[in-house]
Each structure stands twice: as C-alpha cells, then as structure tokens.
Symmetry: C2
Subunit: 285 residues, 2 copies
Amino acid sequence: MTNLFFNKVSIIGVGLLGASFALALRENGLCKTIVGTGRKEDNLRRAKERGIIDAYALDVRDICEDSDLILLSTPVGAFRDIAVRIKDILKQNAIITDVGSVKGKLVHEIESLMPERVYYIGSHPIAGSDKSGIDDARADLFDNARCIVTPTEKSNEMAREKIIYMWRRFGARVEVIDPFIHDEIYAAVSHLPHIIAYTIVNTIGDIDSKYIEYAGQGFKDTTRIALSSPEMWRDIVIHNRENLLRLLDVFKENVDRIKRLLEKKDSEAIKEEFKSARGLRERLQ
Amino acid sequence: MTNLFFNKVSIIGVGLLGASFALALRENGLCKTIVGTGRKEDNLRRAKERGIIDAYALDVRDICEDSDLILLSTPVGAFRDIAVRIKDILKQNAIITDVGSVKGKLVHEIESLMPERVYYIGSHPIAGSDKSGIDDARADLFDNARCIVTPTEKSNEMAREKIIYMWRRFGARVEVIDPFIHDEIYAAVSHLPHIIAYTIVNTIGDIDSKYIEYAGQGFKDTTRIALSSPEMWRDIVIHNRENLLRLLDVFKENVDRIKRLLEKKDSEAIKEEFKSARGLRERLQ
C-alpha cells in the first residue's frame, strides 16, 4: 500500500478528465499533493480555488520535477512535445500516464523518449463527453467506466500494476489491450462516429442551416458528440488517421450500398440493412 | 366546441403514436369512442384491456364506417392502400389525419383519393422514438412537441382548423408547412441521420462486430436511432427517396472532404470543419 501512495501528482491539462482524475485521487486517498498546469491561468486559478489542485504553474517543467505521477490530460497532439520538455527533469521511478483516446504508435514514441527508470503506461478511460471543463468534473466520473490500459512489452511491471490498481480504486473496469488494437477498436466505435456526427451537421449547413431548428430528439442524440472540442478531436483523428482512412472507405461502401438500394427502390434489401444494424446495436443497452 | 368534439375516432395502427394519440384524445375529452385496428390481434386486445381503445376489429373497413376522425398511424407505406380501402365507406365530413414522417406527394395522393366532403389533413408530430409499442404510450407524448401540419391549397378550412386545434389541445407546438417543404426539411434533420446511424452500426459489423462492446456513451447516443423499426424507416426513406438521394450526395461530399484533409494531414482545416459543425449544432439545446 505504501508503494501505491503517490506523494505528488502533476496534472497536465486541468479539464473535465484531468480535474475528475484529481478529485478521484483525493477521494480515494491516493496522494498528498496535486499540482496542475495548462494554457489558461484563469482556469487553473479556479481549479485551485475549488480544491481540485493544490498549486499550479504555467510552465510544465515547474510542476513535474519531483512528481511521482504525471497525468497527460491535454489534447493528444500535445503529448509528444510535453514528454520531450519534461523528460530530463523527472525523478527516478516517476510514472507517467494519460487519458488520451489514441494509443498505438504514440504510446511507443512516448515510452522510448523516457529516460531509464521513468515509466510511461498509457490509459484510456471511456468517460469523456462533449463537455470539457472543470465545471462538470466529478470524483466518480470513472466509476463503472471502462478503462483501457495499454502497456507494451517493455513496460515496467510495477508501474503497470500501480496504474491498473489506481483505476480500479476509481471504480473503473480495467482492460489491458495492445496499443495498436486499441486504436483499431476506438477508430470504429468512437473516432469514426465523431467524424460522422460533425459531417451530418455540416451537411445540414450545406443544405439550409435554418432546417436545424426542426430537429427532434433523434437528431439531437445522433449529433450530440458534434458538440465536442474541435481541438481535441482534430488531434485524435490525425493521430489515428491510418485506421480512420481504412474505416472511412468501409463506411462509404455502406453509404453507397444504401444509396444504390434507394435508387433501385429495393425496399426489401433496405429493410434488411436496417434490421442487421438494429440487431447489432441491440447488443448495447 | 361542439364542432370540435369527435364522436367516434378510429386509430389505424395502435403503436406508440397511435396509442398515445388515443390517450391524449381521452385526456382532453375530445371524443366519445375510440376504436382501433392493426395487424396483431394480441396487441389490439392489450390496448383494449388497458383502456387505450374501446373496441377493435382486424379489418380496417369494420372500424371506419361511422368515424368522425380517422388516424393513420401505421408505417407510411401502408397509407395509400388503407385510403383506397376505406374511401367509399367514410361518412360525410369525416376527417383523416396521420402521424407519418413523410408528406409531399403522399399528402396530395391521399387527398385526391378522398370523396367529396371527406377531408384529409396531414400531420407529423415530432414525438417518435426508437420505441414503437403501446407500453411506452403516454397521454402527454405530444406535450411541448413540435407538430407539423401540412394542408394543401385544396384543404377544407374547417377540417384544417379542427386538426390544428386538436394538436394544440395535446400541448403540441403546431407549425403549418407545405408538404413538399416538410419533406425537404425532414430528409435533412431526421431521415438522413437515421440512414447514417444504421450505416455506422453496419460499418462496425463489417470490421468486427465484437468491437461494439467497447462503445461508450458517444456511440450509444449517435446510434440510438438505429434501434428504430426497420419497417417504418424503410417506408420513410423509400417515400422520401428523391430528397434523400440528393442529400446523400451532399453528405458524401462532406465525408470525402474530411477524408482528403485526413490524407493530407491538414489538421487546421479539419479543426475548422469540426468547429463549423459544433457552431451549428450549438443552436439546439
């Protein structure tokens, strides 16, 4: 248990996930001090006032030096630069993890940047939303959420177990998956749907943006994720682009098939397409 | 007020909308007797047991003869045949309406099928969901929902006003729109998103259906409408196919544009695409 205790934790990017992570650490008594950094001082000040973090600095190097755990919770596009900037000042046995939606190559890159005896273990809690600020942060955000942990063959076993234990303490259902497999899965069940949700809304914009006022609950649900942060999702889709380009082709084939069936007025085949989709969707509650 | 009272109302298709319509009529004291018909006797029996309808018959001709109001609440593909089957037995001054998601040509067809002094006024309450049975029916389903009423230049004024009054009594926010404009709008904000939701799920099925188990809340919301009735939606997309074919082309251009930007790794332009979508989506709560 002493080993599982983090003396000082640094949160890089104090948004919905970073702030919820800080609250969950405190709630579970897993650390003494939490420091944060980010781009907006105003946000950091509010996070401190609310007791989410104990202190903050604007330069990431000023908060990481003597940390036992560093959380990367910025958009994933910033991870590599942050890793480069902090790698020389980290203390021995420091553990780095993250809450990013992309793993794959990025995990291997960050791992290989780290000096000996600094351990990076990738994490992806499936607990994000279209919200992105500290106002929606909660200590129980990860409770009962799935959390994918993506160690590599080089990962330090103690660091990996600490990270898994920590997420379990937060109530998450931890699953260990290869970083590249992770990216294949989440390209399909998360990144593609985000691209498509944005695309549906832009299609309305192309036709007549006033039409959106007529939308009902179905449209609202289908495009809720188009409210998500453009910066965050830009980074995700760029980093997972190879999987997404492949998937977009499969998706386009599906759209073209429906289009051909509509052109032919093949109502039986259209019903079968819809039925097979419903059958698969029913596997989720 | 005497004029607004319907002595006998016939519900053709006692599902979520038909049953909710019956409950709303009763709740608002707008009719004496409600009779229903549909394909499944078992469902009609349950509807009667629950007091949603007072009686039922399996042949539509057996329930319409002396009705003051007839509601078409089957899948829209059945409307025309039903109209043909009942047109000769309807009493003078009977009003027909519906809850279908397609208007356009269909409204003109049904109107022209009706004998003199039988009045068809199309309605589309935006209150459907992926549910379709009487278990989810509620008297207040239409309360605060938008309801599009689509009279033509030939519509009888008294019948139109009665239908509008009725929906307002149910609490609906009535808007009168030309049937063809209605179909253009709802192709964009409802029918296309349904097709795409089904298509996203089928794309997962093509890649690896086991991946669906990893889906989070974003995927669930985006594809909730893929749980909708395949028969109902097959009918809707077939009837609104010309608008949808045009829209699918615009949608595909949007998908192709994102794909090209991803290929070029043009992260700035991708962010702008996402931003413009978010900006438009923010107009809805």
